[in-house]
Symmetry: C4
Subunit: 267 residues, 4 copies
């Protein structure tokens, strides 16, 4: 595998679809939000993205089955005749923080792919790390073009969560949540980044809920949030088990450094 | 050398060959197992794989001869007319853990190559690091497709070693032992990973023996294990000598960092 | 985005243009100097350079708008009929110090691009870190060809700042300020590097002023320096705010290492 | 510059030339030996090798002139009608130890290039780090093919320096000194590595002398060694000056990490 490759399972006809990203990041906020959205909308997987820039390993899944690290595209057809369809991407991981060209390659491939389905608007979801939280996590917003602020503000009116427009000039949005907007802009796409405040080191269902409240408001949809905290608890459970396993291993002396480890926990 | 290259010494005709991987990793389990299998089956080397993603050095071999870092393919023709032939890969090293694209490239080339000989089934061997061992090392199994569990269980019936089906969802198999299965699956290949429990920081003949008991059971073969511990002792001896040499060197002040070292011990 | 790409906004006709580089580096000297020059000359942006070797993030700009990391080309048309025009490059960042091939690619693309506008001469600006300063920062000069020393000395006669010709054989000029000259030389271009002494860890308006005094002398121009210190103060203010934000975050426990951070401060 | 490139200044006709490598490494042994050989033979530079895998900087040379990092090819025509000509490579640096693919690329280009001049035999020179020295540094030898040991032993008979045939199986030769032989072997070239014992952290003229005694014996040449120690002293002087400069700088607080340093000492 020389470069990032997308395996297409189905080629749906979509109506002016909005592309929504929720990949692993701070507090797993984006990933949790995307998975919940997929579940509640009953969205259908239609493509898988593999990349030599992902970790060189397979993950153990249910039934002792192994699978290559991947990202997954889902679509949802809006039953409302005048509504827009949705494409959602989530997955096992993002490219490593030390591999910038890998990030650009993967995000470029994502944009190539979704533009074939007519995507013009992108919403990216994720966490924004803060030292402390006061009340419900707020959502920080930034857009690709200045005139969008008003348009999105209109849609976010009466949103149950406080949405803050970012004024931290010189601040950054790292990874797919940022690059999809930045690189999309160069292709005449537009969109918004919605990041939920998070302490960052937990599986943050509350932050994901805030983000989803804003995203669904933008989309003009309503979804049930009750299963979200349960999902977060399960994710946390898995992470804790894996980390305990890793800690036990690390207490042993390390193997010689030129040996490649065949098996080690993930996350 | 711009990319991973395979030098073919011979082009054998093989009958539905099973591809078996045993490269350096935890406890050198996979490499030891592969070398023992090659020795006992009298398998024949027929190809060498070189890669710019391997360490930029040559190794000193017998007779003061130098050789580039490499992996090697061996074949074994099953004397049983109804039996299947075997391809085994082992070698000096795997790509460095920090170079994911290198891993994907090398494993992709391996799969390109063996598929020319009709390979559909892959068995990967290696170690699985555990903090402590109780009795003989067990073997952990995972497969490419859910319906294979039953099929392999059938073959592993009455195996002299305990085989555990992995249930550590979210766990991983890192390196060639994982990627061969994950990437092979994308090419309609199938197979099993058999990892022996190991404390990880020794040359682990016991773990290699456990893995070989399971692998030969799957293959329907029997091989003599007596030489295995001797081989492990020799390997350990070489490693100790090299490490002593390195320690002696490191006690000296380090050379200026922009100087490339012409000579340093391996492993 | 597979490689460094330049988006051209306008294709000006330029008269024997001098190419001037001022990208982020020690004390932000080069970037400050370039931005001041652009402001005072009322230079016009005509191209943007994007690279997969830049950090995989977007920056927050005014109005909650995000933009990909980039470098920018400006041109200035000399109103003097016998004068030469100018192309200036500045930007958000340079390629990371650990990515040498990225540096060579980006600088190669810059040279490809400006050579289309007839550039033969290059002036690179930056800082030169010193442990202490005595009086006004001096400017250190080095050239692509030995016979240029005399030619530039002639132009720099009566310069208000002391220009030192470098004699530190074995010393280096790292990054675009060096590579533009070194790689330009291989394409029959020529030029000079002018680096202002700087303590290096501040936004160094004084050093930028020294460099600009030398550069404008070489160009035969005069510009007003009064706004320079104000600009430096503003830059410092932004940097301080971002760094405080970062410090607050870092005091929290770090998130799991395989999670990509969606949001972190820049600089 | 996308890949390693060789600029050819002259295309000499050479008679069965031996290719001799002496690039920076342990104790600068190989580089010192190569430079002395070039000087004493009055060898002529005929090509320069540039690579995006070299450090992204220019070096300051005499007369305040900057030059890109490079390696250089020299040739020497043997006045003896029956003698063989020589190609020597030396240079500013080797690819960084963390960039294996870069090493393979650069060495591959070297071999492509010298094979056009009919090179079949390669001699690589360098240092071999030892914790302590007893008497004159010995030279460690290894070859590409087993049957060469006898042939070179014959040539090395009566050599003034002790040549040891390496028996440290599993040991390695890192960098160009190793790769040229390993990769050359795959192209039907052959040769020998001659490494002088060295404490490694000085500019080691004694070790270089030992290596040159062996190399000239193999070549059937004699050269004057008197200037070698003087050359080593000069090199050491330059290194010390640069290092002092660096130490002074490092005592200052470090600049923000995302700033690329424009100027820092070399070595």
């Amino acid at each position: 595998m020389k470069e990032t490759t997308i395996y297409v399972l189905e080629r749906p006809e979509l109506r002016d679809p909005v592309f929504i990203e929720g990949l692993p990041g701070i507090g797993l906020v984006g990933k949790l939000a995307a998975e919940h959205l997929i579940q509640e909308l009953n969205a259908v997987k239609f493509a898988e993205l593999y990349s030599p820039h992902f970790m060189h390993q397979v993950l153990i899944k249910k039934g002792s089955v192994v699978e290559l690290m991947k990202n997954e595209f889902y679509y949802w057809k809006n039953p409302d005749e005048n509504g827009r369809d949705v494409i959602i991407i989530t997955g096992d991981q993002q490219v490593a923080p030390t591999d910038s060209p890998g990030h650009y390659e993967v995000v470029g491939k994502m944009l190539d792919f979704v533009s074939k389905f007519g995507v013009r608007e992108i919403i990216t979801m994720g966490g924004y790390q803060v030292p402390e939280l006061q009340g419900e996590p707020r959502v920080l917003a930034a857009v690709t073009h200045e005139d969008l602020v008003g348009r999105y503000q209109e849609k976010l009116k009466d949103c149950q969560v406080e949405v803050i427009w970012r004024e931290d000039e010189g601040g950054a949005i790292v990874g797919a949540a940022g690059l999809l907007l930045g690189m999309g802009k160069l292709r005449s796409m537009y969109g918004i980044s919605l990041l939920g405040e998070s302490l960052g080191y937990i599986v943050d269902a509350k932050s994901a809920k805030s983000v989803l409240l804003a995203v669904t408001k933008v989309l003009g949809l309503e979804i049930d949030m009750t299963a979200l905290e349960e999902r977060a608890r399960e994710t946390e459970e898995i992470l804790r088990k894996v980390q305990e396993m890793q800690r036990a291993m690390l207490e042993q002396q390390m193997p010689p450094s030129t040996q490649e480890e065949e098996d080690r926990g993930y996350l």
